[in-house]
């Protein structure tokens, strides 16, 4: 990263910003802090223009709404992945000549959307009142009738926990001048209608109160409940018809989708160009900007600024200065940036772990999925997707990463002899009475699990040692070479010594290495502490050996998950062979094969992904990785639907 400061004449400002956007390599910094300083404040002000940003935002919202309506009600088939369609600048500008017509069309869709929302609201209201009326369907007096000259009508409900029979008995026992009708009951309430003379009204109210009686509210409805329900049903039918008409209208606009997308992107570009102005400082005649750009783009940035006759300085970041973070990796390790990004970007003063763990990630994934057929499926399907869709960003990275992981899985599958588990053996035995075994190129883990366990530990050891080496490298780079010697070197001696000692390769050397390492750690572990802390610090450092032990043991998952894939595959194959040979046998085998292996590949690919991540995040990153960098966000064309191509690029 390099830091750029530039001052130019106001007349070139708009042009320069437009070309910087096209170039898309400079992150323009926020100037809020400078405006707080009185010296700056006296000279400049920000070039902010909220009014036009707001106007563009309004239009963007409207276009987005139109596109959402098309997406929701449209009949066009949606692609599996959304990709940006390439379009030349000329074609882009050409399509937008009719901009006002397109804007008008978005307004039509806005009207449609609003109409739909309105219909939905009315529908909800009607349905709610219908729900309230349903229990009273059997009650045939008009709902607005609350009393006659002599008689009161009490309508309402008691909670379903209460006993309506008891209530009835109590009411009828109290007075004879009333009728009690249990109209309906559901999981919430019992619905009751009581007709009584006005004289006994108070008495009945008292009894009802004891049962938690709630009077029913019907608002200004008139007529019987069933008549009202019929009316509501009619209204609902009308709404349904109107809705169908509106949706038809929306579908009629589907031809406009592409224009809407172009308009959306055009507006976004305009908005972003208006918005970036709040990061510029201006005087009457000049403007000022500063920001960051990747060192690789220096020539282009300089050429542009020179062309626009700006005064500029470019400098390297100072030691310890925080800069935005841009990960730069080649085409092989680049896809694995996905894993780094899912964790968190590295601190700008730290190190990008991607190139170091990429190969390990692929190996771990392959060992855990470890089936050649699954590997081929993964490789081919990701390859086809990548071929068909031009995926960008995270989706593209993950897809490419799984492509590499698929290759690794295929290789490990061949080494371990797994092809849909033991499918070939089972099929040959069940249907052809033959004994066919595809031998593993290396060895079958089921037959010698200890060998694979040891191999997993060794692989894990290498992985962890690499992490420690990176920590040492960072210490040295940071000007603390002794830390690298004490914290990494001594551990190397101790751990390698222990391995030599315990594995019995050369116990003597191993013993002495272990002792030197352990004593060294004991003495130097507490060197940053004072007094008694020097001793306890050393002890607690040495205690860290348990951490290394559990770290290495954690790699046993490579064996366990690899076994899981193989064994589940053979469970599936065994189930498929249960009906023996013949037609039924073939049918059962096909069913078991397609369901079982799809399930197995899905669940174990997920497991392999998660556990490979975990081995990086916990065991590897834990050794050295410092996260927390801010992503590099260059000022660029952030279009969503189209990618604008220019001839000169």
């Amino acid at each position: 990263m390099k830091q750029l400061t530039a001052i130019g004449h106001s007349s070139v400002r708009a042009e320069l910003m437009e070309q910087l956007m096209t170039l898309g390599v400079v992150e323009i910094s926020d100037q809020e802090a400078k405006l707080g300083e009185s010296e700056w404040k006296a000279l400049v002000k920000t070039d902010r223009n909220d009014g036009s940003v707001g106007r563009y935002d309004n239009w963007i919202n409207r276009t987005t709404q139109a596109l959402e309506a098309l997406e929701k009600y449209g009949t066009e088939k949606k692609p599996l992945f959304k990709t940006r369609a390439p379009i030349t600048l000329a074609a882009f500008e050409d399509s937008l000549k009719e901009r006002h017509q397109i804007e008008k069309n978005t307004e039509i869709l806005t009207v449609y959307s609003n109409k739909l929302a309105e219909l939905q609201a009315t529908q909800n209201k009607l349905e709610a009142s219908r729900m309230g009326l349903i229990p009273w369907k059997e009650y045939d007096l008009p709902l607005e009738l609350k009393e006659t000259k002599e008689v009161d009508i009490i309508l309402g409900g008691i909670p379903s926990a209460a006993n309506p029979d008891l209530l009835k008995q109590e009411v009828l026992a109290a007075t004879e001048e009333c009728t009690f009708e249990l109209v309906n009951g559901d999981s919430e309430q019992y619905y009751i209608a009581i007709l009584c003379t006005k004289a006994v009204r108070q008495e009945i109210d008292e009894i009802l109160k004891g049962y938690g009686f709630n009077r029913a509210q019907f608002g200004d409805l008139s007529g019987s409940a069933s008549k009202n329900i019929t009316m509501i049903d009619e209204k609902l039918a009308v709404i349904e018809g109107e809705r169908a008409k509106v949706i038809e209208g929306i579908q009629g606009m589907e031809g406009e989708r592409q224009n809407f997308e172009l308009l959306h992107d055009y507006l976004v570009l305009k908005r972003d160009r208006a918005m970036i102005r709040e990061r510029l400082l201006i005087t009457k005649q000049t403007f000022y900007l500063d920001g960051w750009f990747p060192a690789a783009a220096t020539a282009k940035v300089e050429a542009l600024l020179t062309e626009k006759e700006c005064y500029y300085t470019i400098r390297e970041p100072e030691k310890g200065e925080e800069t935005p973070v841009l990960l730069l990796n080649g085409s092989m390790t680049g896809p694995f940036e996905a894993i780094t990004r899912l964790y968190s970007l590295p601190d700008s003063r730290g190190i990008d772990a991607t190139p170091f763990f990429a190969i390990f990630y692929a190996i771990f994934f392959g060992m855990m999925l470890s089936d050649a057929a699954y590997g081929v499926i993964l490789t081919v399907s990701t390859f086809l997707i990548l071929k068909k869709f031009k995926l960008e960003g995270m989706a593209g990275r993950l897809m490419k990463m799984f492509f590499y992981c698929g290759i690794s899985t295929t290789i490990w599958g061949i080494l371990f002899g797994g092809y849909f588990g033991d499918l070939i053996t089972v099929v040959a035995a069940t249907f052809f009475n033959a004994d066919v075994v595809i031998p593993a190129l290396w060895f079958a883990p089921m037959e010698d699990p200890m060998k694979l366990l040891m191999f997993s530990f060794i692989l894990g050891g290498i992985h962890i040692f690499l992490g420690m080496a990176l920590d040492g490298y960072l210490s040295i780079k940071d000007g603390r070479p002794m830390d690298a010697v004490f914290d990494i070197g001594l551990w190397y001696i101790l751990l390698i010594g222990l391995v030599l000692l315990l594995a019995g390769v050369s116990p003597d050397i191993g013993k002495w290495m272990s002792i030197v390492g352990a004593v060294g750690i004991l003495v130097t572990g507490g060197r940053h502490n004072k007094g008694i802390g020097r001793i306890t610090g050393g002890l607690s450092s040495l205690y860290g050996i348990t951490g290394y032990l559990s770290d290495v043991l954690s790699y046993s998952r490579l064996l366990a998950l690899g076994l899981a894939t193989g064994v589940i595959a053979s469970v599936v194959n065994t189930m498929g062979s249960l009906a023996g040979g013949g037609i039924t046998g073939v049918i059962l085998m096909i069913i078991a094969f397609s369901i079982g292996h799809s399930y197995n590949i899905a669940i174990n690919a997920l497991g392999s992904f998660v556990h490979s991540c975990r081995l990086q995040y916990v065991e590897f990153f834990g050794k050295f990785y410092k996260s927390g960098g801010e992503a590099f966000e260059p000022f660029r064309e952030k279009t969503k639907y189209v990618e604008i191509l220019r001839e000169d690029h």
Partner: protein, 165 residues
């Protein structure tokens, strides 16, 4: 009479099959875990149906204990001849008891780790509901629990594998 029946039933083969059953009980943990995660997932999806896929991934994570239990049960069944043409072997009581003992780690750890992992997965789903871009972190937290199921699986596997029949 009673001892005769007892001797007929409670022999080595029975103990080995009992072992396979105990291993398969790890599925209890997965069922509980996936259930807990599923409840949380439904809550989140009710707010935003687009999160279905992400929530489903997290919900699937506690499902592995059941698979590990199945794996050990399957290996035991294969070892004692319950699967395949050869038929059930006659095991001595010590042999059966060894296999029974070997099945306990995955059976027991599977139940509790599946339950605990389900709770972690549910919390991960809550995380996704607020910050969908951080799903990887939720997955890693959930996978931390699974480590112990993996270790139990490994121990059970090595023990079953090591028993000489």
């Amino acid at each position: 009479m009673n001892t005769e029946v007892a001797n007929l039933l409670f022999n080595g083969s029975f103990l080995a099959i009992l072992g396979a059953s105990i291993a398969a009980l790890a599925g209890i943990g997965s069922a509980l875990g996936v259930g807990i995660a599923g409840q949380a997932a439904s809550g989140v999806v009710a707010e935003d149906p687009k999160k279905f896929g992400q929530a489903l991934i997290l919900q699937a994570l506690p499902g592995t204990q059941g698979i590990y239990g199945l794996l050990i049960a399957f290996i035991i069944m294969q070892k004692i001849g319950l699967l395949g043409g050869s038929g059930l072997m006659a095991l001595t009581i010590p042999q059966g008891a060894y296999i029974l003992a070997a099945s306990i780690p995955i059976g027991l750890v599977g139940i509790f780790s599946g339950y605990a992992q389900g709770k972690a997965a549910a919390a991960g789903i809550m995380l996704v509901s607020k910050r969908p871009e951080e799903i990887a972190k939720g997955m890693v937290y959930t996978a931390m629990v699974e480590t112990y199921a993996v270790l139990a699986l490994l121990i059970s596997f090595l023990m079953v594998n090591g028993v000489q029949l």
